[in-house]
Symmetry: D3
Subunit: 268 residues, 6 copies
């Protein structure tokens, strides 16, 4: 079977979703280049391992060279201090897009986050055009990534899927996850559809399975043909049994970003 | 298993849907208090039976005291004279909300009706924000219930599910019901989801199964996780065989409220 | 000049706006029938004075007979107890519409109120289809009037202008009135346009002048040709000088209904 | 079983979809009248065969007489010269509607085309109110048919289903068809639902199966009860293996009309 | 002063608006080429007079050659038989666009008509994306012109202003014209703005003055900078005095197209 | 007269708009604290001059302390290298908001820019919810400011007016400025209204005068009462005479951001 890509770069390959991607995406490219600042173990025959700090402009350029696809899980994925987020998620993402612009415009799967819209209420239904309402510095940095990607698309033709990942874990383990859960199978199929599309553009996609509980409307990206098949409802009874009812006044029951909306500014 | 509620009040428990609720909801509360103005037979061990006229302010207060959930099927559910509707559906609902306000704000499942929007055409697709277009005095009284509930929510925090029930019967028995049918299973599951939700608010919900024929769009309440599973399409062939085609100029084929739109004002 | 109407009924003619209407509308009908439960003084030559309690079904029928236009300012126009609102604003309005239906369907200018949408925030812009969010029992009763009028239009062809009057006074005397002010000149011109329109239907109209401060969008009724000409901005400096800043957390600065949103339920 | 219609006319019965309709729709009418300018072979017992040029006003009148339903597949269905399109698709359709108006207003299933909106991009999601953006003279002629049908509905009560057929073939054989494919089963069921509906009106319907890849939103016609069941996704792997990736700059990957958008004006 | 255009073609220069354009637009081009099938009198020094039947393909090509702007008032502007409309408004417009395509793509001011949306009700507010609802064969032919122009823009880059002219006369002389009136000054300024715009595209513009009575929303073309300044309200009193009230059930008071909606099909 | 504020901070007071603000806003606060990295000359009696680099966290904290209002014109206001923009517009804005959060949450007038939406076409009409489409690194940095302000509002209650300033100069000097021009008078009145509003929230405001040429819709902030009064149309004739027509294919005629959309990435 023909591979979709020649060389796929997976950043953040040592993190939770990076590991999943590394394990399951080997078949879509001739070579998988995996990268992180942490140790990534042994390279499989189809793999190249590159240790790289995203804040290093020159290193990122080398990292991207030769790739025709990028899955970007790198950077910080929780609330953190501004200085650390600035390095990893703002300078790092700028470096990535500059490298892409100079190296043949590989298509990018960008791990954005539901925390770019975390201050919307849970009874609001959001589509791709919902106003950004980030719930912390991490969320703001993901807004930056979305805005930068948009500019590189409009100005330089770099295509990016801006995937606002909900909660991607093996199972949905709390009430909020009933709405935000993205199964690993649905995550992987989404990545494949993003790289298979003849024309991608720069769409916002909510990274979420076909859950009974719905906050997000992905109808604007149905042109990609991706239709998730898993459903968090299978975990509902257990979640209701295990997790106490927070009551209607708890932020975790009010805002889409859940307890991220309560995080303080973390100072260095 | 933990019960969702301590004491659930079911009003109108002697009526069609009240009986269904009484039979099937016993497991969701420690105690079920059933009420009507008609005889309700013997109380089961988990039940309390209270005869109560909703127009009696003091009695309604006593009825509500001690309950943390209310399923309100009480009152008149067809077109009737203004004086009777005034007593049962306007004064009665005011009494219910005053009692709720004074007794710990139990969550309320309010049986509203599709007849609050009955003068919309059948080729219009309505969501929760569709303008009210009641089709008779009954429909107007259900608008009153919705508006009053909205005010008690905004002002006093009483949560209500405003459920615009379509046609809840064992089967869909005419062409209009192909669009409006709500199976008993879907009705009961909706009630359960309403009481299980950590935060309900005061949403408008169309009480309708997952029928192929669709007038109403419930996407705004998908945050509750309720997804009906029955479909009136299984009755379609029989309905088409049994019921003569009304033709395109019959109000029953034009308006969502069907023949209610033709009811005259009933005078005392 | 030809009069627009043969006989115009003004209810609530002893109240604030009723007096304005009585004084300024004499030229639009051959006869003006003024009505209230309070004393209305001497009848001018073109006037008929009728004392009438709106809760009296037979009296209202007589009141309406022979009129081809009604300006309805009657009933209660502030928060009050449910029993009083029920009589004046619910039974009274039903009586009015039944009388209209039986007496040739005179066109009705209904004084509804901004308090039917009083729990919307001031930074929301509302059009005619904004969801009803009444801010008290008075607001709920005006919702009832709107819904009843809608049904009498759809079912019986009675035309009504549902005029959500803001704050109609000689001047705008506080910050909230900068948005809600309706000058007397604009009020009167609106009444005239309502009766002059070849076809009225049953539109929602925000009764508000052309103020710089805007919460409401009347574009849906520009087909009537009414364009208000006064502007509360002329009072802005005085209001800012006279009224202390409430601060951003005062309900009077948050909700469109202002301090009505803080009124308790008034018990008899 | 009772037939839905007395006599159904199928025009263009010698063309691709006309043949499918002829084969599968025999059960819905007592008599099927099939028509084309090409030879239609032997008539089955329930059939009448009429050779007819749609540009012949008198002949079309005779063709329509006695029919209570019409499936209009006649005319030209690809880009062609203006003179030929004028005859077949503009004069022909006018003749058809005049004949319908004069012969009891049979209900019409009009084969419109996705090429009336062919210049919308593939990442746009269109509903029935999307602006017309035809992609050639053929598309313009189908806009004409839609507009003429709309006028005959508003003015004379002729009901038409304006079915913007995607790509109706046994299988989806290229990437664009993953979005546009309409299976024969779904086509036939749509025709049946159109004729069974008590009231049809003059709706725009996208003729497309329940594909994973979606450009068009049919929610406005869910009142008809039609829910397609086939899905082009079953052909996806084969299509991706067989057809080379056009790349993001090929019009076939940009516009909904695909390569029709590149057709030149064909001169006689 | 620099002229906007080198040679402006005005078709239908012998008709009502053609005469106005001929008189007032002399200053915007070095040469004005005026055309009609009727006699156009003497040519002024800056004018060229060409007699031309729009249905003559070759003649239209010659007519357009050398022009960099076209104001198209030619063709039939009232309801007529299909055969006559076909020649003048369908074949004629096709000929015009083919000539434009082959002769340097002059910018076109197309006189479309409010009768492309004539079956919308007067209490509907339409913007540029309102569904087409033509009110007769004339209206359908103007839809054809709009659709053809859209295709020539998308496919060949010909820019057209699709101007849905209301009622352009010296004064507003009936109630419907209070909404539809376009003063000659506003018409002329619109034509100038259309030709002065650096980029026009193919927008729908409602050709209407700044009347108090409004059915149409031109906000989507405010990028052109055109803001009409006349107002039919100055004629309101006279219109109301002169024209009897049609009553709410007269089509002239219901539909935007007025009495065009009642025209029968005119047969040859 | 009572001052609106006790101490107003104006950052970037040495720049173009900073100077205008410094000159004209002296009357709205007891003390004006002006700041820049360039020399600001002599302090007037009501002024405090503070030299401050926005990238210096501690200095910014001192700068903000004691202020109850901030007009933020500081930072870079044209396209520049990422490293410079990072310091001034990303770290600088973070420092400003942290200082605001720790110093009593002064209200902020943030000079955002039309370049956050610069890749929208000029024939698109944008409101406050239009998707961000920045046209360069400068635009991306202003998106960052908007997103950060949104988060500080939702999380910590800091109120900001996000003012997307068009082109604020004494006169409109080119065709694009006909749409984007903001007169100094309108700029100053907007600042005053922002600080006078009882409740501001965190709204997006297009900083633009009441020009005939319109790309932006400010109706969502009409609750503030600000209505600009100047109009670029007075400069139109001169602009058209002075500036050559760019033609429809020049980016300056296509995109709202004009020639910013053509700026390359500036490398250090």
């Amino acid at each position: 079977m023909t591979k979709i890509l020649k060389r796929l770069l997976i950043t953040g390959a040592g993190g939770g979703l990076g590991k999943v991607a590394r394990e399951r995406l080997s078949y879509i490219a001739d070579t998988i280049r995996v990268s992180d600042i942490v140790d990534l173990g042994e390279a499989a025959p189809h793999e190249e391992i590159v240790n790289c700090d995203l804040a290093d402009y020159v290193a990122v350029n080398d990292l991207v060279a030769g790739c025709d696809g990028i899955v970007h899980f790198g950077g910080i994925s929780v609330e953190d201090s501004f200085s650390r987020i600035l390095k990893a998620n703002i300078e790092g993402v700028y470096n990535l897009y500059e490298a892409a612009r100079k190296n043949g415009s590989p298509r990018i799967f960008m791990a954005s986050s539901n925390h770019v819209v975390g201050f919307h209420r849970q009874d609001e239904r959001l589509d791709a055009n919902a106003p950004l309402r980030p719930d912390g510095l991490y969320g703001v940095s993901k807004c930056f990534a979305e805005n930068l990607a948009s500019m590189y698309h409009d100005k330089f033709g770099v295509e990016t899927a801006l995937v606002r990942i909900g909660s991607s874990y093996p199972e949905a383990t709390n009430r909020r996850f009933l709405a935000t859960w993205l199964s690993y199978d649905d995550l992987i199929s989404l990545i494949v559809y993003v790289f298979e599309a003849p024309k991608l553009g720069c769409p916002v996609i909510y990274g979420v399975s076909d859950n009974d509980t719905v906050w997000w409307d992905n109808s604007s990206v149905r042109y990609l043909g991706w239709r998730p098949t898993d459903n968090s409802a299978v975990f509902r009874d257990r979640v209701y049994a295990d997790e106490p009812d927070p009551g209607p006044d708890d932020p975790v029951a009010i805002y889409q970003g859940g307890k991220f909306t309560q995080d303080p500014i973390i100072e260095d």
